[in-house]
Structure formats: C-alpha cells, structure tokens
Symmetry: C2
Subunit: 135 residues, 2 copies
Amino acid sequence: MPGQEEHILRANFAFYTAFRNADLAAMEAVWARRWPVTCLHPGWQALIGRDEVFKSWRAIFGGGNSPPVEVSDATLQQIDNAAIVLCTERIYKTELAATNLFALEDGDWKMVHHQAGLVTIEEARSVVTLPVGLN
Amino acid sequence: MPGQEEHILRANFAFYTAFRNADLAAMEAVWARRWPVTCLHPGWQALIGRDEVFKSWRAIFGGGNSPPVEVSDATLQQIDNAAIVLCTERIYKTELAATNLFALEDGDWKMVHHQAGLVTIEEARSVVTLPVGLN
C-alpha cells in the first residue's frame, strides 16, 4: 500500500501529542484495537495486551502530567500493511531511541508496539522509574 | 499468511545463534537484503541501512567473540507479511528487552529491525559500551 508515509507519520505524531498532553483518550485512539499490542517502556518488562499497556499509560499520566517528551529524526520503513517508525525522544536531558510499529486497521494506521531505549544513560534513573506505581 | 509462527521463531533463533557464535556470515543471512534494515543497539544512535548495521556487527564480533547472550520469553505478533518477536536477552547479569522485526522476503522471514533496551541498568555501562570502536 504505497503513498502512506504521511498517514503513518501522522499516527506517530498523534502518539507523541497524546503522550505530551497526558491525554489517555487520545492515546487509546492511537493504539490498535484488533491487532495485539505490546509496549516496552525503558527499564520495564514487556507489557503485553491492551490491559497491561493502558495500565502503564494511566500510571504515567496519573497526576495529569507526563514527561515533556520531544521527538526528532523520524525514519520510516513500510512492510505492506505494517510500518515501523524510528525516532529520537528527549525527556529532560535524557535521549532515547524509539521503535514505533503501526499496522493498518480498518484503513487507519494504529500503533501495535512501542519501545523506547536509553541512548544516554547519565540520567537513566529519572527515566526508567517513570511509570511509578505500575507494579 | 497463517501458520508461519514456527518459521518466524526459527528466524529469531537464527539471529541469536549467529550473535552467540559471532558468526558474521550467518548474521548476514538472517537480515533482509531487499527490505531496508535498521538496528538500535543499547546505548547507541539508530543504525540505518545494511552498511551501518553490519559495521556494528563486525565491531561486536571483532575479536572473534561476542557477548554470551541468552534469550527467553519470546512473544510473537504477526501483521500479514511482517512479524514482531519480543524477547528477553540476558548478557552476563544485565537483562534487556528486545524487539525483533521480520519481513517475508522471497518466501523467507528476514530480520528488518532489531532493538535491545536495558531492563536492569545496574551493569548498564558494560553493555552499552559493547560495540567498542564503532564510531
């Protein structure tokens, strides 16, 4: 399915907008409902399925705030009905490398997997302890 | 394309066998040649394209050895001709969460993306400095 780059990058943008705004409803709209979903927050075990993934977002957004994530350097690979966006996240002074995987669902690109991993680890603990109260 | 689970997990196994054996030829056979490929080693910027990705593997395998990676907890999601395998890597006492993305290429499942991120950061520096001499 060619010509989808703009739609995929918009889905990636919507993910980070929901993240920055601590907007749980917008975050729920970003993620797939029919494809299985998974998430690897930095420093955490794999979260498998919508229940676990959204338990984590509720914890991250708990106080009505979320970390001020900035995003750059998006690189897109499309494999038929799946697409992977790599980008760089910055949260305070910590840089993370992110893998965001999307899949076509009813004509829309929906997130099916997110992993963010530390590039710089100087301030690692402030980031890896991000989803406080999750367990 | 249903019924592909065994083939996808075999491709994932082949990746870690090549990794453990520091076998560059086997590693080259694991990765896609026609799909674009990317790799996010822990603590590193994104590597984009076969040249950058294999420069990293040559550095990691430089001395004829590679870290004794152990793998467990593989979870598979398939999206048509793409498949994502999440698994846990252990290198010495450090635990990493890995995202391995595969795509069908001429009937075989080939790796198109690998990201490993730290779960435990106690011994992070010994792992994130792994590809010494890469830059």
